[in-house]
Symmetry: C2
Subunit: 427 residues, 2 copies
Amino acid sequence: MMLEDMEIDDRFKGIPAGTAPFALRDMGRQGWNLLAGDLPLPAAVLRRSALDANSGWMRAFLAQTGLSLAPHGKTSMCPQLFHRQLADGAWGVTAANIGHATTYRRFGINRILMANQLLSRPDVAWVAAEISRDPDFDFYCLVDSLDGVDLLVRHLRAAAPTRPLNVLLEVGQSGGRTGARSLEDALAVAAAVASVPDLLSLAGIECYEGILPGSDDAAIEARIAELFALMGQVARAVEMKGWFRPGPVLLSAGGSIYYDMAADAMRAIGLSSPVQIVLRSGCYLTHDHGWAQRAWQRLLERSPHLAGLAPAPRPAIELWAYVQSRPDPGRAIVTLGKRDAGTDIDLPMPVAWHRIGGAGPLLLTDHRLIGMNDQHGYLSLPDDSPLRVGDMVCFGISHPCTTFDKWRLLSLVEDDYRVSGGVLTFF
Amino acid sequence: MMLEDMEIDDRFKGIPAGTAPFALRDMGRQGWNLLAGDLPLPAAVLRRSALDANSGWMRAFLAQTGLSLAPHGKTSMCPQLFHRQLADGAWGVTAANIGHATTYRRFGINRILMANQLLSRPDVAWVAAEISRDPDFDFYCLVDSLDGVDLLVRHLRAAAPTRPLNVLLEVGQSGGRTGARSLEDALAVAAAVASVPDLLSLAGIECYEGILPGSDDAAIEARIAELFALMGQVARAVEMKGWFRPGPVLLSAGGSIYYDMAADAMRAIGLSSPVQIVLRSGCYLTHDHGWAQRAWQRLLERSPHLAGLAPAPRPAIELWAYVQSRPDPGRAIVTLGKRDAGTDIDLPMPVAWHRIGGAGPLLLTDHRLIGMNDQHGYLSLPDDSPLRVGDMVCFGISHPCTTFDKWRLLSLVEDDYRVSGGVLTFF
């Protein structure tokens, strides 16, 4: 499927009602500028200059550390951004499930790390057929329990692929998410994998350090260190047993918050075999005004040497809405709701405003979104707020994943908010 | 566009990977049964028997009260459900914005109540063109401020429709959402509308009682009563001024929680003109296991005479996921995340489980979802939990709107979980 040929019209939220259909490649030729009021609001936009900066940051980080990246595609589910990441040197793309993987395949992604357990008969049947059909398709998934290996083996045996399925043994920590909790448990799973070499091939060790519970940064970071210590123990023990497939051992971890720690910790795992270290950070490319920005500040505290590596990540994703009513003193109602923005970590944050025909956008301080309904937001205003009905407000977000999935199309804008293109998501 | 001809394949979350494309009308002929493990999980299903029951409930309520219904389409954004509601006698469909309205028009909806302010140049231009093009298109939107009327008039004048735009004057309450807060403010807006009869036509009065703040049910219900008192005052005053368009005066309110109160209150508003009362409840058709179920219990406490009217609403929407890991005592990780289910009111609630090949589904008690990531759920288990890796768990939800928008396709299932069809959403 040629993405750039896809027909765009007002079926897509963010495209003006009544727009005649056009090919995605021509989106920048519609003559639209957000600040002129050409787009219906709410609108989600990606600032191209920020994407460029963030792309440059990750290239510099990978060059300095010598690591590989399989960015988690679930963040955006946007093949255009995946291809940008691959052009930047990404090794593959990470998926959360087989639904993601089928989408990636449709858009030409040849290496997929499914950072999750593969369980069900239809999912296994598809993977088995796809690795049999295409010798260049390089696919990995996780195993973390004997029951899970049993299911996978049963379904694989029925599907009879022409080559073994690559798996990564997942380790985890008590109170965390998935993953074997101890060296003993992990080795039992590895032994089960090694016992069916016709069906499974043990490619490496995986963990996810991004969701460990803890009372503060230091406590969480201590648990992360323990997790990587377990990863090292398990990797060395599996290597001693000779259970890894031939070739480099894959070590993979690294979400969007602690990837500096993950990189350092995995580089310190000493194996006799060559090692390939794969990070999976997904949110670096868009960054944000909240969660990712706070994580970045903490990253710089932990790893101050990274500050000078390249220009820092900047928020690329913005949401714009109209003030539709100012019914009470100190309150505006805006056309932005839970259908348009993630609210799982913080509510969107007003950062700028603009009046059509005026000189904006201008910075907006002391305004705060205090609630959202499905299609409305409640904005708390200072006494001297400039906002009137019909004014536009720009919101930053916190956690790109839960905002991307509210939009099938996001406009790419230049720094003057001229629409220069668009990207499609496939949730 | 013929919806039933639309091509379905594994681009849609919920369709097995590798499924050959088929027309939507043939979804029931794929031979799938959820309990046999034929669908990839997570899956969202609608139980047809519950939709039938809920449809019957609302038909009975409208027949008893003599009211009209324009169900809020934002709940599901599902034209197949809209057409079911219209076949059940709905007067029109409610929209939140022009993006919704263009979707409704594409699928043949001729009467749209946009329960929101219409603000922007491109949105007004589309409405003006559409009411000019199609004399049978009956469209309404809200006005609640002089600034809003000014914007609307300016854009309408530029767009030059061949007939005036119908508006409803919105009244609201301090601390609520949109809506003029007093008789005086409302009359000023009505006067502004009446002053441009070539462009605007005042069709009635609107309010939304569903989001008033209050410390408990009684406090909220007292404020709702005040809101409807204001609606009555304004309606009578506007009628005295002669500012309504000829014909019946529309009175519209009624979300999914307090529609019994809205119905009673609007029926008690005495006008000299004939009145048409339009409720906008959107969630009755699917109901749920949480928010809507609690609202229903409270509705029966307020309006006990409704208990015997028809069989009570039942939850029609369910989410199913696999147990993918049981890494810690008392904990299972399931394949259901924030990408799959609304979490804005409550997390999804496990209600049943099934083992493929077993005799389920069986009721599940004492299990609780205690957290969700984007693609995972954390299930807390009792010591004697039957759940193993690979088992299926059925979740009820709380607030249909924020779950529908996670799915472009939901399977329709019979009581034995045979897939008998599918419905598409257009978010």
